[in-house]
């Protein structure tokens, strides 16, 4: 590829800025952090523009043998590219959303920039141990962010977050050690093509599952998420929901599925079962929440369950759909947390009952909140629709029951999101202080408008986002073909399925 190490540069920029922020005053640290994240975003745009769609599978590869046991190997494919774009896009917005942070600003910005470095590293790493280090290291800054700048119950939440995810990851590390010992390489692309014996795949898959299921998070190991989300500061929630949750999905798509196809098929029903349970249970829990952030946190678990349904559908539709759900959820849930943050900054409460009738005094806010609510529900024309439709279409081909129950998630999603919106934005202005809140200011508009545009773009013309990953998804599908489970939708005549496929293609390749 091109000789210029753009991936290393994208890691170096936020890292250097993080170190500098530690020594800076509050105002300078804010500016520097914003500049660094914007520079990284610009580099990301350059990366996307130079990405050769339909070219080599791994692009921008770098390899330096400077360590013993593993190497500094970076490289991206279309899947990683999209997730990197999501991260660099959300980061400046997170920095912008941190205006309300007043204590220890330098350290705060340093922690955030460090998180950005490590997240990008996870998506770029081409060495399995390098991946693990980036994957694990993110725990430290997130622990500090939740613990120092979080809400009232932050200590408990930070412990829970750290120990839960650590336990999952160490089991994965043992599996990685075994794999490297057996395959004799730490190179991820080589390992993706290596055929492990089906009997050991079972164990390896379970060890990886322990880690990714916690990160995802899947029911019933999701309990750290509401605790961490609710207690984290707004920007922390945005980055947690927007990008960190995607690491679980990325892990499945990069490791579990291609490395252990047989085991993935074997455990498919387990994943479906957990996902079905998650969709219904967490949606119902979301319905009764009084805390806005908690509600959105539970809705994240439900959306992630649709991602896992799509991933374990073993077909192109499902895989593309789950990637799109991940991207869309990154934007939408980030935006929703931002919307909560906007009114939380004004009234310092997340309790739904304390608001009401905001449409009257905050019309612009109401508009954007509505857009993101609709995107979260999956209204056609927004990003949420495309991904969920494809995922559920994909899973329908292998399990009609999973598709049926998964779809209730959309109905329940509509219920809790519309219920939330009605209570917060419509109705009468029952609280004087809430009625006196000013509308969005320029800074806040600068944060929500790009998100709104991205959500609409992805909803109207998803081809831009599907194109870079099409070849990679096809390769993954080919890899999974030998283990593909038989579908129970049994399309006997050619009638029902083409209609289905056509509408999916409709959403997919317009």
């Amino acid at each position: 590829m091109s000789g210029f190490p753009i991936l290393s540069l994208m890691l170096a920029v936020p890292l250097a800025a993080a170190l500098a922020c530690l020594f800076l005053e509050a105002k300078a640290a804010r500016t520097l952090a914003l500049v660094a994240t914007l520079v990284d975003f610009a580099l990301g745009v350059v990366l996307w523009l130079n990405f050769d769609v339909g070219g080599a599978q791994w692009q921008f590869t770098e390899r330096l043998e400077i360590f013993s046991g593993f190497s500094w190997a970076l490289g991206i494919d279309g899947i990683a590219l999209l997730l990197i774009m999501l991260s660099v896009f959300l980061m400046p917005i997170c920095i912008g959303a941190s205006r309300s942070i007043e204590k220890r600003v330098g350290e705060y910005m340093a922690a955030f920039l460090l998180v950005e470095t490590l997240m990008l590293g996870v998506f770029m790493a081409q060495d399995i141990f390098l991946f693990y280090m980036f994957f694990e290291a993110g725990l430290i800054p997130m622990y500090l962010i939740i613990g120092i700048w979080g809400g009232a119950d932050r200590i408990y939440a930070s412990y829970k977050f750290f120990l839960y995810t650590l336990l999952g990851s160490v089991l994965m590390l043992v599996a990685m050690l075994w794999m490297v010992h057996t395959a004799g390489t730490t190179d991820v692309p080589t390992l993706m093509a290596y055929d492990f014996a089906p009997s050991v795949q079972t164990w390896l898959w379970l060890a990886f599952f322990a880690s990714f299921a916690v990160k995802m998070p899947m029911w019933p190991v999701h309990t750290w998420l509401p605790a961490a989300h609710v207690q984290a500061p707004t920007a922390g929630s945005v980055i947690l929901a927007g990008v960190l949750l995607k690491m679980g999905g990325y892990g499945f798509i990069r490791f579990s599925l291609p490395m252990f196809p047989e085991a993935s098929a074997y455990f498919g029903p387990l994943v479906w079962g957990l996902s079905m349970a998650a969709v219904v249970i967490t949606s119902l829990i979301a319905l009764v929440q009084n805390d806005m952030k908690k509600l959105i946190a539970y809705s994240s678990v439900a959306h992630m369950a649709i991602v896992t349904l799509g991933l374990f559908a073993f077909n192109v539709q499902g895989l593309e759909g789950s990637m799109l759900v991940m991207l869309s959820h990154g934007l939408v849930s980030g935006a929703l947390f931002l919307c909560v943050g906007v009114i939380y900054d004004r009234l310092h409460t997340r309790e739904i009952d304390r608001y009401g009738g905001l449409a009257i005094n905050m019309p612009r806010y109401a508009l954007f909140f509505l857009l993101f609510t609709m995107a979260s529900i999956g209204l056609p024309g927004t990003s949420g629709f495309v991904g969920e439709f494809l995922s559920l279409g994909g899973i329908y081909q292998v399990s009609t029951w999973a598709a049926l129950i998964g779809t209730t998630g959309i109905i329940l999603g509509a219920a809790y999101m519309l219920f939330l919106y009605r209570r917060v934005v419509f109705g009468e202005q029952k609280n004087a202080d809430a009625a006196a809140m000013p509308d969005l200011d320029t800074r806040e508009l600068l944060m929500v408008v790009p998100l709104g545009l991205a959500v609409m773009w992805m909803g109207v013309y998803p081809e831009s986002f599907i194109a870079p990953m099409r070849a990679d998804i096809a390769a993954l599908d080919a890899r999974l073909a030998r283990a593909k489970p038989h579908g129970d939708s049994a399309p006997t005549t050619g009638k029902a399925k083409p209609a289905h496929a056509e509408s999916a293609a409709h959403g997919g390749s317009h």
């Binding site: 360590f67 013993s68 046991g69 694990e136 613990g147 590390l173 043992v174 050690l177 075994w178 010992h181």
Partner: protein, 487 residues
């Protein structure tokens, strides 16, 4: 076998013995006023001895050429590696000690002399290739260590630590001697090579008892569960620089000795002792982690942490192969860096009057009053917990890699899962430092030497440390190969 060859091989030991004796004379005539000069000379002697042992490691010395005094003593790459760690950490101890003793005017001329003799004994332990050398080295180290633990005579806790260490240490030495005599009785020789050859035909019951008793004595020295009870008391009571010395140089010597005995003398009988090592490794990891949770004193916490870390080091021993030994040696170098960093940071925790602050709760909000020190402590804690990207992770990684490749999957799984328990108490310290409101107990000024050493160790523990992996792995591989070399 000519004497001059043997005398050349033990040049570092000669240097230290002669330096120790001269410094003792200086101390006798110069008194406590000369303690500064004696410290400087002692550091010079230790650094000089390091320079003398280094060539053996770099040249990968192994085999018959390295054997001195008719197989009593071996100066190969393995012992050289361990000695470098021992001597350097002893030198660091001497560098950081004066600032600690200054306040109570407890610095005495004997302190550097004792450290030199203890380091000399430690060096003999890792060079032992005969049960007699082993015991002489061990006792040389231990006698100096007992006195060092009780060094602050006016402090009741220090005296208590010294007494406890002495009584229990003597007991352990007795058990070790008993094991040695059984081994001698059933093999008819005290040389490690001879024992190995005598056991080649199979292990008799008596020899098994010998192994078990020797292991019990050695487990005491490395403070592995179930012989760990003395560690928290001694670590807490002993003056902090002495604790630093025990946790670094003493630990390397004891672990190195254990490796010599098990991998050299009983190297072909791994099946007989593997399950014992697996048990004490897991027990140390778990007990060390659980015991640390309730601790209120940071030195006690570090003591449990050292028990926990010994457990991880022993995971490498359970493999009984070169890769495992190499991983152990790597881990020990890291552990020395982490312990030095940790204890120097603890030395820097002082109140206005210079009294040490050891209560963990009084570190509350340290990140706001002393950001640099807080960051260093956080690095030490996360590194000890083995969270990547800090370098401490790589030590755990290597020992578990060795375990997985030796097909000890259950050990790897349980050990790793238990490391999560350990993460909890390290997190607790970070929580107190970073999340709690400031209590402003740590206000004292820090010594410039302390700062310098802390910065160096923190740089090693930081992700920059990974740049050392190629070089250090090369050294540990050479050293481990030397240990397994059969002439």
């Amino acid at each position: 076998m000519d004497w001059s060859h043997s005398l050349r091989l033990i040049a570092p030991e000669e240097t230290l013995s002669i330096a120790g004796l001269i410094l003792l004379l200086l101390a006798a005539w110069g008194g406590d006023k000369a303690s500064r000069l004696i410290s400087i000379l002692a550091v010079a002697a230790l650094v000089g001895a390091t320079a003398l042992v280094a060539p053996a490691l770099c040249g990968g010395a192994m085999g018959a050429d390295t054997s001195a005094f008719f197989g009593q003593f071996r100066a190969d790459a393995f012992s050289s590696y361990a000695k470098i760690l021992i001597y350097l950490s002893a030198a660091v101890t001497l560098v950081v000690a004066p600032a600690f003793f200054e306040r109570t005017a407890a610095m005495r001329a004997e302190f550097p002399v004792l450290i030199v003799f203890a380091a000399l004994g430690s060096g003999m332990m890792v060079s032992a290739s005969d049960l007699l050398t082993l015991y002489v080295g061990l006792e040389m180290n231990s006698l100096a260590a007992y006195v060092l633990a009780a060094f602050v005579r006016t402090d009741g806790r220090s005296a208590e630590a010294g007494l406890k260490y002495f009584v229990l240490g003597a007991l352990a030495s007795g058990i070790l001697l008993f094991g040695m005599s059984l081994t001698y009785g059933f093999t008819g020789t005290t040389s490690f090579d001879g024992i190995n050859a005598a056991l080649a035909g199979g292990l008799s019951n008596g020899a098994v008892f010998g192994i078990v008793f020797m292991l019990a004595g050695l487990a005491f020295k490395i403070s592995a569960v179930p012989f760990h009870m003395w560690t928290p008391d001694v670590y807490e009571g002993a003056p902090t620089p002495v604790t630093t010395f025990f946790a670094t140089s003493g630990k390397v010597a004891a672990v190195g000795l254990t490796m010599r005995v098990l991998l050299d003398a009983f190297g072909d009988q791994a099946a007989a002792w593997r399950q014992i090592i697996v048990f004490i490794a897991l027990a140390s990891i778990i007990v060390g982690a659980l015991g640390a949770i309730g601790q209120k004193n940071i030195k006690r916490l570090m003591a449990y942490s050292s028990i926990n870390n010994v457990g991880f080091i022993l995971v490498g021993l359970a493999t009984a192969n070169v890769q495992g030994a190499s991983a152990m040696l790597f881990y020990m170098a890291l552990y020395v860096a982490m312990s030095l960093g940790g204890f120097v940071a603890i030395l820097m925790l002082k109140d206005e009057a210079g009294r040490p602050v050891e209560d963990i709760q009084s570190l509350g909000g340290l990140s706001r009053t002393r950001p640099g020190l807080a960051l260093a402590l956080a690095i030490v804690m996360f590194s000890l917990a083995g969270i990547p990207p800090l370098f401490g992770f790589w030590g755990k990684f290597l020992v578990f890699q060795a375990a997985v490749e030796a097909d000890l999957m259950a050990l790897a799984f349980i050990g790793f899962a238990a490391s999560v328990i350990g993460a909890f108490y390290y997190l607790k310290v970070v929580k107190i430092i970073y999340f709690d409101e400031p209590v402003n107990a740590v206000t004292g000024e820090s010594d410039v030497w302390h700062k310098a050493i802390l910065v160096v160790t923190c740089l090693i523990m930081s992700p920059l440390g990974y740049l050392l992996t190629r070089w250090l792995s090369g050294l540990t591989d050479t050293a481990a190969t030397a240990l397994f070399f059969t002439s």
